[in-house]
Amino acid sequence: MDALSYNAKMIEVRELSKSYADLRRGQFTALAGVSFSARPGEIFGLLGPNGAGKTTLLRILSTVLQPTSGTAIVGGCDVVAQPALARKQIGFVSANTAIYDRMTAWEMVEYFGRLHGIAPEPLRERMESLFARLAMNEIRDLPGAKMSTGMKQKVSIARALVHDPPVLIFDEATIGLDVLVARALLQIIAQLREQGKCIIFSTHIMREAERLCDAIAFIHRGRILTTGSLEELRDRFEEPDLEELFFGLISDNDQKVPSSKFHVSGLPERALLT
């Protein structure tokens, strides 16, 4: 918590861009100069339709992808220059990060705890409390292949929390969950905020964002259209309904920037091939 007191911004993203070659669309720009920041104890909502660039952005934050240009600093570590340190600051839960079929819940979480370099005894204590908190004790010895989607998601969250990271990233984490499990997940996330975690929550479901997020950024076609707290946005655009607000922003933006012009830029293909 010491680090938080003098580093007000836990996540700082500046002018982040990512483009890559695509056979059909030519040079495809997934992100075009995205900037935002997020503080500890804050849930930062990333809202956008499918294919808006949310996953690309969060993959860059988790150091799995390299940005074409721009910087991103997570918990004081640059994701390009210090990827290993940056990964230690992050717990990453995404629809794309599955769990191992042939490992039990306990083994899975233990494995990632060990990879984080936690000694066996503290790790065991940490895991006992995590399993109790997430009510996972009945699936402790169940292999991944036999779990339901909700159980898997719980294991993923335990896996992301095992090293007690200051930053948590949830990328479309409620996809495929039934109402009850999704509700429980949102509760867990709210609890994590109470503990002072900095949380990025990406979704395309407006209601989730409305319920949970302290700050919201609308992302569409690789650009952040607007950002601010829920109240700020409602005041600024004089539109109480978030969905209407978002729809209006998108149609405004599409009229300004024709899609073809935006998508096929002239960036050299080899920028990604190196």
Partner: protein
């Protein structure tokens, strides 16, 4: 931390694989079942062949000679061989041979009989005449011995077995007839066999025993090490991608290198386990079968397949470590590229296709452990292992450095490839997209770059190699200089220069930059390159001689080359210079140092690009001995081209080098003796014209100086250096992007 993570990942992957029933089946159960099953099968077939009764029809017009009797009461006489599994049917017939032949063909096809023996009419009378020895002049056709025919169908196993059985009996009968003939003439039977032939094998029992194993075991080991590495590798990379767990692992603190190392160790473990279990199962089955056959009291076993010595097995196990490392790294890199397990499995066959010929090369008769073979990956290692098993420890020691060095080098590159695959996000996050050829072409043209991509460079290289190979197969062997000059020019212009130029125009925005056609920044580099070629020429000639000593040309190829050389010498000098030095200098440079090198340099590593270009340049020269020398020259010219940023110094180098070779080929001993300058440069002892060694050394020093000067040249910040891909940064890519967009709009 590094090793702790690798160990963690290794143990997890190992446990994960061991929990997978498919892997366990492929690695443990399959080999333990496969060989015993195969053994049983072979045993059954053997049994079948032994116990199957052959139906043989004997066609004869009249009786066979009375003494010695072939037939004994409707059966074959036992004294000429085992008649137990032969059932005969005697058919008296006086038809012509052709009728009997067609009748037999139909009956064998219907299975009525397996083979037919045909005795010509008057067989007995003719034999009697020969026995009486009335007419000793055998050159008269009517006095020739009668012909007995065995009619069979080689495409039918039963028929072939029948043929072998009856042939052996007939041969014995013939011997017996001959002996009785001699007896009738009061000549001892020994007269027909004036001496006996006996064989003494000096190979020690151990070597005789290992002769077979030493060829088979290393081969089997390699095949299983490859197969055993491939399936776990696909599951560990492509499989994890498919299941979505790879990204989970990538977001953990483990570094990419640690992940690769952990996975590599796992794959290696399975590769080695598969190889060892297969070997053990095979040896156990072999030993069991041998003991069974001996217990059954079967005569002799043609091949000694009892167990190889323990030392050989230990040596195999030691060698298994680098073999598995190599195959595991290769499999891992390929598996990392695949999007799904299904796609991964498709890549096994190409991998096998590439490595099998190298493995087979070691079994080819005449392949022996020498310096040449020991430098070929896989083949060298196999031959080295064979020498080890056979106990030729001196050879083993002598060639351990090249063999192990080459293997280590291959391992290093394979592992590096695997790591780079894991660091390449376009490989890790490859999405499946429907492939459409027309769309792809449109994409290539629409998105053509300033300079060619590495992929396009590789494509041109493959095209040139294919054209070269096809041309050498299709084009007739030149019989005169004019034909030869014509084919060379067609090949160079039509299949080397034109494709390079076409591809630059179609696929790049700056063909002139691609082909490095602009003049060099320092015009002095052109004469310097020419001088460098002259200065390096003596050393390169030595190198060529060394290569010829290391890999001697086979006599057939040497004779062919000799003919071509004669044609050269017969041609007018200006024509020879035009065809052998000017045309290749321009055409080959356009393709290799122009398009291919420019494209490969997009990877960002100049030296890697130079080496790959030179390897292709070497390969395009056809014969191995020429390829090696050409590859070395390719490195020098590649360096010159990269340093000067222009094609022309390379053209000058190439032309001078080839020109000197043509001119030296035309020097005669007399010319050297009469001109004092030539005498200072060349040594014409043994009728072979060579540079004197002081000349070569001085020239070599000059060449070093020139190369040093070239190295110290400032890189001209023009053209491709500006456009060369680097890890992208904003300040760097923006201006190009905007400029290109501008161009695009203008177009």
């Amino acid at each position: 931390m590094f090793f702790a993570n690798i160990r963690l990942i290794f143990l997890r992957e190992l446990r994960d694989q061991l929990r997978d029933r498919r892997t366990l089946f492929a690695v443990v159960v399959l080999p333990l079942l496969l060989y015993p099953l195969l053994g049983v099968l072979i045993f059954q077939v053997q049994q079948f062949l032994k116990e199957h009764t052959s139906k043989i029809r004997i066609v004869t017009a009249d009786d066979l000679p009375p003494q010695p009797r072939l037939l004994d009461g409707g059966k074959l006489a036992a004294e000429f061989g085992d008649p137990r599994h032969i059932e005969i049917e005697i058919v008296p017939s006086s038809k012509s041979f052709d009728d009997i032949r067609s009748q037999s063909q139909a009956d064998i096809a219907l299975g009525l009989c397996d083979a037919v023996v045909y005795f010509p009419p008057d067989f007995a009378q003719q034999l009697a005449r020969i026995r009486a020895g009335n007419d000793k002049r055998e050159d008269k056709p009517e006095n020739a011995s009668p012909e007995t025919q065995i009619i069979f169908d080689a495409a039918r196993d039963k028929s072939r077995v029948a043929q072998q059985r009856i042939e052996s009996i007939l041969l014995h009968w013939r011997n017996s007839l001959g002996e009785s003939n001699l007896e009738a003439s009061n000549v001892s039977a020994i007269a027909a066999r004036p001496f006996n032939l006996k064989q003494t094998d000096v190979a020690p029992a151990v070597r005789r025993r290992v002769a077979l194993w030493s060829k088979i075991l290393p081969f089997i080991l390699m095949v299983w090490a490859l197969t055993g590495a491939f399936y776990p590798a696909v599951d560990l990379c492509a499989g994890e991608k498919e299941r979505g767990t790879l990204e989970t692992l990538l977001t953990s603190p483990a570094a990419r290198q640690e992940i690769v190392c952990g996975k590599l160790l796992t794959v290696m473990t399975f590769s080695m386990a598969t190889a060892i279990l297969n070997l053990a199962s095979m040896l156990a089955t072999g030993a069991f079968i041998v003991s069974q056959i001996q217990r059954m009291g079967a005569a002799r076993i043609p091949l000694d397949i009892s167990a190889p010595p323990i030392s050989a097995l230990l040596c195999l196990l030691l060698a298994l470590v680098p073999i598995s490392a190599l195959f595991s790294a290769l499999s891992l890199a390929i598996a990392a590229f695949a999007r799904s397990s299904k796609e991964g499995h498709y890549y096994l066959v190409p991998l096998l296709m590439l490595s099998l010929p190298l493995m087979m090369l070691s079994i080819v008769p005449g392949a022996e452990l020498d310096l040449g073979f020991s430098l070929i990956p896989l083949t060298g290692l196999l031959l080295w292992l064979r020498a080890f098993i056979e106990g030729q420890y001196f050879d083993v020691l002598r060639f351990s450095l090249p063999v192990l060095g080459m293997t280590a080098l291959c391992c290093f590159f394979a592992i590096r490839w695997a790591v780079s695959q894991f660091n390449n996000e376009s490989v890790l996050f490859r999405e499946s997209e429907r492939f459409d050829l027309i769309q792809w072409f449109r994409y290539l043209h629409r998105n053509r770059q300033v300079l060619p991509t590495a992929g396009q460079a590789v494509l041109l290289a493959l095209l040139i190699l294919l054209a070269r190979f096809g041309f050498s197969l299709a084009a007739p062997q030149p019989t005169s200089w004019s034909i030869m000059a014509m084919t060379t020019l067609i090949l160079l212009i039509g299949f080397v220069a034109v494709p390079a130029c076409l591809m630059s125009v179609l696929f790049t925005r700056r063909p002139v930059h691609t082909l490095l056609l602009r003049p060099p920044a320092f015009s002095a580099t052109i004469p310097i390159a020419a001088l460098l070629a002259a200065a390096l020429h003596p050393l390169l000639l030595w190198l060529n001689q060394g290569i010829a000593w290391l890999y001697p040309l086979n006599p057939l190829a040497a004779a062919k080359l000799g003919e071509i050389e004669q044609m050269f010498l017969a041609a007018p000098l200006w024509q020879a210079l035009a065809v052998i030095c000017l045309a290749p200098a321009i055409c080959e440079e356009l393709a290799f140092r122009g398009f291919i090198l420019s494209g490969l340099r997009q990877g960002g590593r100049d030296w890697t690009a130079i080496f790959i270009t030179s390897a292709v340049f070497g390969l395009a020269h056809g014969i191995l001995q020429q390829s090696l020398g050409a590859a070395v020259i390719g490195v020098v010219i590649g360096f010159v081209a990269v340093k000067t940023g222009s094609l022309w110094p390379g053209v000058a180098y190439h032309a001078v080098h080839n020109g000197l070779s043509v001119c030296i080929g035309r020097l005669t001993v007399e010319a050297i003796d009469t001109h004092s300058i030539l005498r200072m440069l060349f040594d014409s002892a043994d009728g072979q014209i060579l540079y004197r060694w002081p000349v070569a050394i001085i020239a070599g020093c000059v060449a070093l100086g020139l190369l040093w000067w070239l190295k110290s040249l400032p890189s001209s910040p023009r053209g491709e250096i500006l456009y060369r891909a680097r890890p992208a940064t904003t300040w760097y890519d923006r201006p190009i992007a905007s400029r290109l967009e501008h161009q695009h709009d203008a177009a």
